[in-house]
């Protein structure tokens, strides 16, 4: 019995989500080297080709903040209250380590793909 196209589609979507999950964290941390609020962060990520919906981004920001990687502050801008995020000193250290890890994984993967 061969799997149907629906099943293949579902498997692909699940694997894509898994693949994106780690990358999103890295992308968000990298973008927050500069202070941003939620909407501009989403826009910056989308402009670079990494769409992220509100329901994914805000819980992720909360989690990273509770892990001590981000600091946030409510501030008024353009007559509206906005929450601004930026990397904490711990976040900067961890981002550096994560980027090294990412580059190592990336080069290993490229090597594997070339061999295949």
């Amino acid at each position: 019995m061969s799997p149907g196209s629906d099943q293949i589609g579902e498997v692909f979507e699940n694997l894509k989500l898994e693949l994106r999950r780690g990358c999103l964290t890295l992308a968000v941390l990298t973008q927050l080297r500069t202070e941003r609020y939620g909407y501009t962060l989403r826009k910056a990520l989308a402009d670079d080709g990494l769409e992220i919906d509100e329901g994914t981004l805000y819980p992720l920001l909360r989690r990273l903040e509770s892990q001590g990687l981000l600091v946030s502050q409510w501030r008024e801008e353009d007559k509206r209250n906005k929450r601004f995020y930026r990397l904490s000193p711990t976040g900067e250290q961890i981002l550096e380590q994560l980027l090294k890890e990412w580059q190592s994984i990336n080069s290993s993967l490229n090597k594997i793909l070339q061999e295949a």
């Binding site: 799997p3 293949i8 939620g38 909407y39 919906d53 329901g55 805000y58 509206r80 209250n81 929450r83």
Partner: protein, 355 residues
Amino acid sequence: MSTSSRSPNPIDLVDRYLQAVRFWLPKNRRQDDLLAELGEDLHSQIDAKEEELGHPLDQAEVSEILKRCGSPMVVASRMGPQRHLIGPTLFPIYLFVLKMVVLWILVPVFIFIVGPVNLANANGDWSSAILNTMGGLWSGALIAAANITLVFAILERTKALAHHECKWDPAKLPPLAKTERKTSLVQTVCELGFQVFALVWLLLIPQHPFMILGPAAGFLKATPLVHAFYLPVVLLWMFSVARSASILAKPEWTWLPLASQLFQSIATLTILNFFLHAVTQTPTGMFPFVVLADSVRDSVHYIKIAAVVNVSILISAIGAWIGLSIATIVQTWQLLRHIRKNRSISHQAISAQAR
């Protein structure tokens, strides 16, 4: 753009949307913060769109932004904390305990103890006895499942088994399971030969009672109760012959030996149940299985022999009932294990194909 689709204040929609999201979120201050941020994001999206279009958005355009964001319930489920009654660490143990209690304790107890007791007390009303048993099993399973779930939910919340993972010892792992032995051709042929021989023997008994009673056939004869159960026993034995022949003809049907064996055991058990129940209805002072032939009716010596034969048959029937009950539980477990194993192989094959 029609003026009818315009609302005096389409931004109200955002507040209504946030109110709907709030309904599905747990009520705490952290969620208020999250909602304020979501609201700000939506307002920023509206601002950006208005800047792009060069006019204030109408209700339809605001609705479009909200639709893209997702239904309030879905957004709340993504934004809220991950909630589960029993987490992934405890879930396999929970499922194991649930299966053990419901499948291996409750179901056998209701099939082999509660069911027969209900049938015995039903005074011939079997349908209500079966319904009572099924109802009892259903309530019992629900109560057991609820209690087990409650206990595991408490264990999950209190993290009572959090350090269990550190305590396991590789040396205490169970030994490797033996590979499943397949039924050999010689064994199946021998079984079939024996069953055909036994069937012929069984069919000859009514005309030649000597073949079962031996010399006692001269002074003992079967009661109407034994005659009544003769046909079901013959049919059961015929099924057994057909079963062995099918296994011989279709060895690739690996489920057949287990499934048919289980069916045969359940059928035998059912006949035995009725048989033993009928024995309890025998009037006091009467032998249930064999009685004396008319020619020796008053002989004290033969009455003693008849009594011993009747007691022996009764003890054998009770022993067979107990043995079959245990065998049925084991066979059910073997069949379920076989089905689960086959399903796992099928899933692996599908995954391999998908790759």
